[in-house]
């Protein structure tokens, strides 16, 4: 991590020893404003290939803004977004998607009146390699056989769990290098949350780098390698999942009660 990580009250995370050329996705000193409101404050994140990492934080801590900044739905005031070593801070969303970052939005947000197949096709909207697209769709069917059963159904008519599979499938159709997951446990019944995290673990084990943003800290850390805790737009904790789980301040800061 860069040396100027602000106000972390834990020792710098001991990173796994595996050799890493470059992070897949990196935020360097990012500050983001909505109008005059300062949302993200000097955020530094680095995600390496094959990792499953999570960004934790309470309401209004800046989690979603971080994702929006990564995707280019909002442009940071200062700092850079780096994808595969390429600075994309001022690139439009579609070019970042083409470079390999896709999001599974909060609450799934499928195109409800379109069929499952159309949803998946839209995931591959920027791709032109039609052979590979068909192969990828087959792979998604292997991963989620239920999706194949429902392929011609309007996605709005599916159950919550099935919709989650389609949402993940839709993102995978973009053939991403990093998958961003916005609040995967949001709006789902507890049993489905469990299933959902199993899905995430499953696609991670299939070799995909996953960056998830979550309020449910225990759940997220139970499957993640590393994590950050965001509080009022600042990264306050940065450690491995085990250390974070064991950290005494975690519950407090996650709930937003710890004052700085």
């Amino acid at each position: 991590m860069s040396p100027d990580v602000p106000a972390t009250n834990t020792p710098a995370s001991d990173q796994p020893a595996s050799p890493r050329a470059e992070p897949v996705l990196e935020l360097r000193g990012v500050n983001t404003h909505y109008g005059a409101v300062h949302i993200l404050k000097d955020v530094d994140l680095a995600i390496y290939s094959g990792e499953l990492v999570c960004l934790l934080g309470g309401n209004a801590s800046g989690k979603s803004t971080t994702l929006r900044t990564i995707l280019g739905l909002v442009t940071p005031t200062t700092g850079d977004v780096v994808l595969e070593g390429q600075v994309v801070t001022h690139q439009p969303t579609r070019e970042r998607v083409a470079l390999g970052v896709t999001m599974v939005p909060e609450n799934r947000r499928l195109f409800k009146r379109l069929t499952v197949r159309e949803n998946l096709d839209l995931g591959a909207y920027l791709r032109t390699d039609s052979d590979q697209i068909a192969a990828d769709m087959e792979q998604i069917f292997e991963l989620f056989p239920r999706v194949k059963e429902r392929i011609n159904q309007k996605s709005g008519t599916l159950s919550g769990g099935e919709q989650q599979m389609v949402a993940i499938g839709r993102a995978l159709m973009a053939n991403p290098r990093v998958l961003l997951m916005d609040e995967p446990s949001m709006g789902l019944a507890p049993a489905l949350v469990q299933q959902n995290f199993e899905l995430i673990q499953q696609i991670h084990e299939a070799g995909l780098t996953v960056f998830m943003v979550e309020q449910n800290a225990n759940m997220a850390l139970s499957i993640a390698d590393r994590g950050w805790v965001l509080q009022t737009g600042r990264v306050v904790l940065d450690d491995t999942a085990e250390n974070l789980l064991a950290h005494p301040d975690l519950q407090a800061s996650y709930l937003g009660t710890a004052e700085q």
Binding site: T93, R94, F111, L114, T115, D121
Partner: protein, 629 residues
Amino acid sequence: MTAVADPMAASTGDTVPETVRRRRVLDQNWRELLKVGAILMVGQVFIALSGMPVSFDRRLIIDPILSLGYLSLLWLPLVVGYAVGREQALEGMMAYTKGGREVLAGAITGVLGNLGLTLLVVGITHFDIRDPLVNWSPQLLELLEFEQSVWFGALIWLGIGAATGAAGGGLHWVGARNRRTVITVIAAVSSAAVLESVITDLAQGFHIEAVANWLYAPKRGLTSPAAAVVAGATILAVNAISALRARAAHRLVSAAEASPTESGSTRGGRLSPRRLAGFALTVAAVIVLPLFLGRLTNELLANVGLFILLALGLNIIVGLAGILDLGYVAFFAVGGYSVAVLTSPGSPRFSPEMPWIGALFIAMLLAGLVGLFIGAPVIRMRGDYLAVVTLGFGEIIRILLLSDWLSGTFNGAQGIINIPGVEIFGLTTVRGFEPRSVLYLVLFFCAIAIYVSWRLENSRIGRAWMAIREDESVAEAMGVDTVSAKLMAFVTGAVLGSFSGAILSAKVGSIFPHSFAIIVSIVILVVVIFGGMGNIAGVIAGAAVLIGVLGGPNQPGLLQEFAEFKILIYGALLVWMMLQRSEGLIPSVRRARELHTDELNQDAWLRAQADEADDASNPGVLDGQGPRP
């Protein structure tokens, strides 16, 4: 597909007799009846005082028996009488057999509703409030009294209310199949009456005037024997078709049972020989029929075609991209005025007198530019704001055309006249006084518009539009360039709209700003919504029914008596569509496509079972599972 068949067998065969009970006739929900009756009363009085009965009285549906005027007072009690007995069949709940209770409920609401008319009869006799209520008139009184005494008029309406309401309620009693037959017969007889001028025209074209003369009393609707024959033929046709369908469904189900794996693979078939044949037949009919039609019908169809063009253009903006554009008339105006200025020798300042085809290309270009110009500021907004701003832009174009500032070019309120016809490569000239040639021109452009719409809908940009319509932020996160996609929608819609304007210019030969009032935008939107947004066939059907029957904002339809009430009816339709059938008249084919074949078969089979259950005197058991949109 035993898995499909079994639960069906259980629901129709075993469980039904247990859940069926008949309620006592007096076991009514009196509060509900009073409420609905009061609403019906307001409706009936409103219709009477709107002037419809009197204006429509001259138009007969069935020669000596029924005029459109009386029909306007009869339909509502029938519909409400039916509606009041309607119940959703809930799974796992007690389902009741419909019978005398529903008839009584309908009769009571009918009487309550027509009490309004009775009061109106008495009221008109004793008071004169014609000052605010224009239609509080002796003519209305005469009509309501059947030219008899006051007391006869007052009482007969109560009786009519009871009868129509009971008939509406009785539709529950007769069972699903008979109900469908009755409704189809009513629809067939009224369409036959409404289509009088078209059918007479066609008969003349084919030199079989005798048929038309027998069918219609001259300008007075169907003759009574003809109405009986139409009704009889419809009954036979309905029975034959439903028998065929039931047989086909049974065959499909048994085939699926024999080889469960095959049922899925028969899905799709978008270019099956049957569909192709149907398509070829339609195209042939559309090309050949105008040759046999007279001037008036061709004129009417040309107007319908102009609105099909407009509706297809708006359908891209509203139906596919989901941008609620209330100022679509702007593109119609740009097309019309560009062609007028470029071709007419009467254009005041700038008059190149170009040939129509050249002018059309410039009109398309200009419309595209205006689309960009209006679209660019507008697409940053969403929802209501966007609608209001487009509304404003639509008006701005009309006001600019009307303004003194630009009157040097557009001649203000005097408009541009002497617009020449369309010369087609020196072969022939299309002029407004030859409606047939205009119709062919319109059909040609409709064909282009249909092809373009169809290709776009199934293209990458079409998918992007639908994604934006469904969820703009997510579409953007998927990599869709939302700004340029939305601009594309505006530009494509604008160009299609300009076709219509360009043809209108050449057809009418003159053009005025008042032809492009805001109501045109609204009517096009109603056509799109009525047909079903985002659905090409629906939009065409919507234009044919609404513009053909009611007429466009400045164009007469088949029912010219409706002219005064057109806007009222458009408004009422819009409200009803939004409340009851937001999917449109013809739910999108996409809906049918998304269902598996076995689900479709299951539906057909279920319907056939329901009909059989009816025959086994279990009427109304599956009410609510019938053909719903």
